[in-house]
C-alpha cells in the first residue's frame, strides 16, 4: 500500500492550525512534524514483519489514506452506562465533549481532564514525547486532537472510578491518547472504553506509569463498530512495589489489534493481566502482550481467553522477557481458546526469553471445542443443548469479566459479553 504523503501532510496542517487556534504551546509543532515524517517513512506495518504476520492492516491503511481528516459530525452518541460516582471523560469523534463528561472534582495537584486543556502543565511535553515504540505511535502523536490525562499525586487514593470513553459516531479517523501517572502510593481505577456506532478508524496510544507502591486498576474495553479498525498500543511502566491489575476485553471491530507492553522496572512490582477476545463473522483480533521483567522479585500473571466462531480469527502472541538483573522473577502466562465452529482460527504463541538464572516462569496455551462431558452433564439435568452450550461458553469468558473492579461496569460488560456470546453460539451447527 502506497500512502499518499500529501493527504497526511494536509491533515497535519489542519491539526496544526487547530493547535494554533486553540493557543496550544509552540513545542507541539516540531514534535508533530517530526512524528509525521517518521511515520511516512515507515508507513503502515505489513505482513512481512514478524509482529504483523497474521494481521493485515492494508484495509485500514486504505481507509486511513483516503481520508485522514477527522469529520466533526456528531450523530447519536453512545455513552455506555456508568455509575453516577464515576468521573467520566467523553470524547466524541476524537474531540472532548465537556457536555457529556461529568464535572470532575479532583484532589489538589491531581489531574483528571482532557489533554488539550492541560498542555501548559509542567511535563505535558513528556506526555506526548513518550509515545512508546509501537508501529503507529508516531501517527497518533502527529494527529491526536485530544485524549485523557489522569495524574494522581503521591499518597492519594481516588475512590471514584475514572471512566474514559472514546465514542465515534462517524466514519472518522481518530487518534485517542491516554496518559496515566500515579504518584507514590497513589491508588486509582481507570477504564479506557472505546465504543462506536460507525465504521471509524482508531489509532490509540496509552501511556501509563505507576509510581513506587502505587496501585492501579486499568481496564480497556473495545466495543467498536463491526466495520471499524482499532489499533491500540499501551505501555505500562511499574516502579518498585507497585501493582497493576489489567483487564483487556475485545468485543468489536473488523480488525482489532492490541500491543500491550508492560515493563516491571522496580523490584517488588506486580502485574496481573486478564484478556478476553471474541471474534466471529470475518472479524480479526490480535493481542500482543510483552511482559518485561527488568528488576528482581517482580511478578506477573497473564491469562487470555479467546472465543472464535465462523470465519473469525484470533491471534495471541505473549512474551515473557526476563532480563539478567531480574532474579527471582515469578511469571506465568497462559492463553486458552475455544473454537466454536469449523473455519474459525487461532494462532497462538506464548514465548519465553530468559536471561536470569533464578526464576520461576511458566507459559502455555490450549485450544479446543466445548467439552463433551460437561455438555452431557448439563443436558442430563434437563438443560437444552443450546442453553447448555451457552452456559459453557459464558463460563469460559466469565473468569475474565469477573476481574472488572467497578460493579456497574462489570454488569454492563457482562451483558455485552453475554449478548455477543449468544450470537456466537447461535451459529454453531447442531
Amino acid at each position: 500500500m502506497n500512502l499518499d504523503p500529501n493527504n497526511y501532510r494536509a491533515a497535519l496542517a489542519n491539526t496544526l492550525k487547530q493547535d494554533a487556534d486553540a493557543g496550544h504551546p509552540e513545542w507541539l509543532l516540531p514534535i508533530r512534524n517530526e512524528a509525521l515524517e517518521k511515520f511516512l517513512k515507515q508507513g503502515f506495518p505489513h505482513n512481512k514483519l514478524e509482529n504483523w504476520r497474521y494481521t493485515n492492516l492494508a484495509p485500514m491503511s486504505e481507509r486511513s489514506n483516503a481520508s485522514v481528516a477527522q469529520p466533526a459530525a456528531v450523530g447519536d452518541v453512545i455513552v455506555p452506562v456508568t455509575d453516577s460516582d464515576s468521573l467520566t471523560l467523553v470524547f466524541v469523534n476524537g474531540m472532548f465533549s465537556s457536555q457529556k463528561s461529568s464535572s470532575t472534582s479532583v484532589p489538589a495537584k491531581g489531574i483528571v481532564s482532557n489533554m488539550a486543556a492541560q498542555l501548559d502543565t509542567d511535563g505535558a511535553e513528556d506526555w506526548l514525547r513518550n509515545s512508546g515504540d509501537s508501529d503507529l505511535a508516531q501517527l497518533n502523536l502527529a494527529m491526536t486532537n485530544d485524549g485523557a490525562v489522569v495524574q494522581i499525586p503521591d499518597n492519594i487514593e481516588l475512590a471514584q472510578t475514572i471512566h474514559i470513553i472514546f465514542t465515534n459516531t462517524a466514519e472518522a479517523n481518530v487518534f485517542p491518547r491516554v496518559i496515566i501517572r500515579l504518584g507514590r502510593n497513589a491508588k486509582a481505577t481507570v477504564i479506557e472504553h472505546h465504543i462506536s456506532n460507525a465504521a471509524c478508524v482508531s489509532t490509540a496510544v496509552t501511556n501509563i506509569s505507576c509510581g513506587e507502591g502505587s496501585r492501579l486498576n486499568y481496564q480497556k474495553l473495545q466495543e467498536e463498530h463491526a466495520r471499524s479498525f482499532h489499533v491500540a498500543a499501551q505501555t505500562i511502566k511499574l516502579a518498585k512495589d507497585s501493582h497493576c491489575d489489567i483487564v483487556n476485553i475485545d468485543l468489536g471491530a473488523a480488525i482489532a489489534r492490541n500491543d500491550l507492553r508492560i515493563l516491571l522496572q522496580g523490584s517488588g512490582a506486580e502485574v496481573g493481566v486478564n484478556g478476553l477476545f471474541l471474534v466471529d463473522g470475518e472479524r480479526h483480533a490480535d493481542n500482543h502482550l510483552h511482559l518485561e521483567h527488568q528488576a528482581a522479585h517482580t511478578r506477573s500473571r497473564a491469562h487470555y481467553a479467546g472465543v472464535m466462531a465462523n470465519k473469525g480469527r484470533g491471534v495471541f502472541n505473549g512474551m515473557i522477557h526476563v532480563l539478567q538483573a531480574a532474579q527471582k522473577t515469578d511469571a506465568a502466562l497462559n492463553n486458552k481458546n475455544l473454537l466454536l465452529t469449523q473455519g474459525a482460527e487461532i494462532d497462538t504463541k506464548p514465548e519465553l526469553e530468559i536471561y536470569a538464572d533464578d526464576v520461576k516462569c511458566a507459559h502455555g496455551s490450549t485450544t479446543g471445542q466445548l467439552d463433551a462431558a460437561s455438555l452431557f452433564y448439563l443436558r442430563t439435568r434437563g438443560v437444552p443443548q443450546q442453553v447448555a452450550r451457552n452456559m459453557l461458553v459464558q463460563a469460559f469468558a466469565v473468569e475474565v469479566v469477573q476481574q472488572l473492579a467497578n460493579e456497574s461496569l462489570r454488569e454492563y460488560i457482562q451483558n455485552s459479553v453475554e449478548q455477543r456470546l449468544n450470537e456466537l453460539v447461535a451459529v454453531i451447527e447442531t
Binding site: 467439552d371 463433551a372 462431558a373 460437561s374 452431557f376 452433564y377 448439563l378 443436558r379 442430563t380 439435568r381 434437563g382 438443560v383 437444552p384 443443548q385 442453553v387 447448555a388 452456559m391 459453557l392 459464558q394 463460563a395 469460559f396 466469565v398 473468569e399
Partner: protein
C-alpha cells in the same frame, strides 16, 4: 411399568458392552444392580441417560410407555429421569444454583408450567441443601469444581432432591465415601423414597444396601443380568463373591 429394558445390546468403538440386558422397574420400586468392575454398569446408566457415542444394536427401552432411546438427554431429564454420575463432571464458571434454576425451568417449560419464581426457588434450594447437610456456600460455587469425592456425590443427591425425578439412576454413589458421608447420602436418598419415585442403585459393594434397602437386587456380569433376587442376594454375594455366582450362572 415405569421402565422396561428388553434385550439391550450396546457397543462403543465397535466393542459390545451390553449383551442382551433386560430389566423391569415399576413405580416406587428400588432396584440395585451389582456387578464386578467392567461389567457394564456405568454403560447401562449412560445409555439410559442418552450419552452419545454408544451404538444400540438391538433391544428396546420403554419409559412410561415412550421409546426412551428416541429422546435427547434433556428430554429424558425433563420427563423425570435423573442420573447421578459415578464421576460427576467439574464445570468451572457454571454456578451450582444457576444450573439448578436452568434445569428446573426447562422442566417447567416442558410441562407447560410457568417458571419458578426466585423466592420459592431459593427456599427450595436451601431446604434441600440443609437436607444434604451441605454448607450454603456450596450453592454459589461452580459445579463440582474443587469438590472432594464425597462432596461431589453429595451434590449429585442434592441435585436429585431439587429436581425430584420419577426415576433416579445412581451410579456408584457410595464409592469414595467414608462412613459418615455414606450415611448422609443414603439418608438423603431414603428421604426421597416415594410411591411414585423409583431408584436404580448401581453399586459394586453391598455396603450401600445396608443403608438403602432395595426391593430387588440384580447381578450384572459381562453385559447381562445373570441373576435377580431380593435383598438377601446382596448378602449372598458379599459372602460368596461374584466369581461363585458367575460360575453357577455359566455352569
Amino acid at each position: 411399568m415405569l421402565l422396561e429394558v428388553k434385550d439391550l445390546h450396546a457397543s462403543i468403538g465397535g466393542k459390545e458392552i451390553l449383551k442382551g440386558l433386560s430389566l423391569t422397574i415399576k413405580a416406587g420400586e428400588v432396584h440395585a444392580i451389582m456387578g464386578p468392575n467392567g461389567s457394564g454398569k456405568s454403560t447401562l446408566a449412560q445409555v439410559l441417560a442418552g450419552r452419545e457415542g454408544y451404538e444400540i444394536t438391538a433391544g428396546s427401552v420403554s419409559y412410561n410407555g415412550v421409546d426412551l432411546l428416541d429422546l435427547e438427554p434433556e428430554k429424558r431429564a425433563q420427563a423425570g429421569l435423573f442420573l447421578g454420575f459415578q464421576y460427576p463432571v467439574e464445570i468451572p464458571g457454571v454456578n451450582n444454583v444457576y444450573l439448578l434454576k436452568a434445569a428446573l425451568n426447562a422442566r417447567q417449560k416442558a410441562a407447560g408450567q410457568p417458571e419458578i419464581d426466585a423466592v420459592s426457588f431459593m427456599r427450595l434450594v436451601k431446604e434441600k441443601a440443609a437436607l444434604m447437610e451441605m454448607d450454603q456456600s456450596f450453592l454459589s460455587r461452580s459445579v463440582n469444581e474443587g469438590f472432594s469425592g464425597g462432596e461431589k456425590k453429595r451434590n449429585e443427591i442434592f441435585q436429585m432432591a431439587v429436581l425430584e425425578p420419577t426415576l433416579a439412576i445412581l451410579d456408584e454413589t457410595d464409592s469414595g465415601l467414608d462412613i459418615d458421608a455414606l450415611k448422609v447420602v443414603a439418608n438423603g436418598v431414603n428421604l426421597q423414597r416415594r410411591d411414585d419415585r423409583s431408584v436404580l442403585l448401581i453399586t459394586h459393594y453391598q455396603r450401600l444396601l445396608d443403608y438403602i434397602e432395595p426391593d430387588y437386587v440384580h447381578v450384572l456380569a459381562n453385559g447381562k443380568i445373570i441373576h435377580s433376587g431380593d435383598k438377601s442376594l446382596a448378602l449372598q454375594l458379599e459372602a460368596e463373591g461374584y466369581d461363585a455366582l458367575m460360575a453357577k450362572a455359566a455352569g
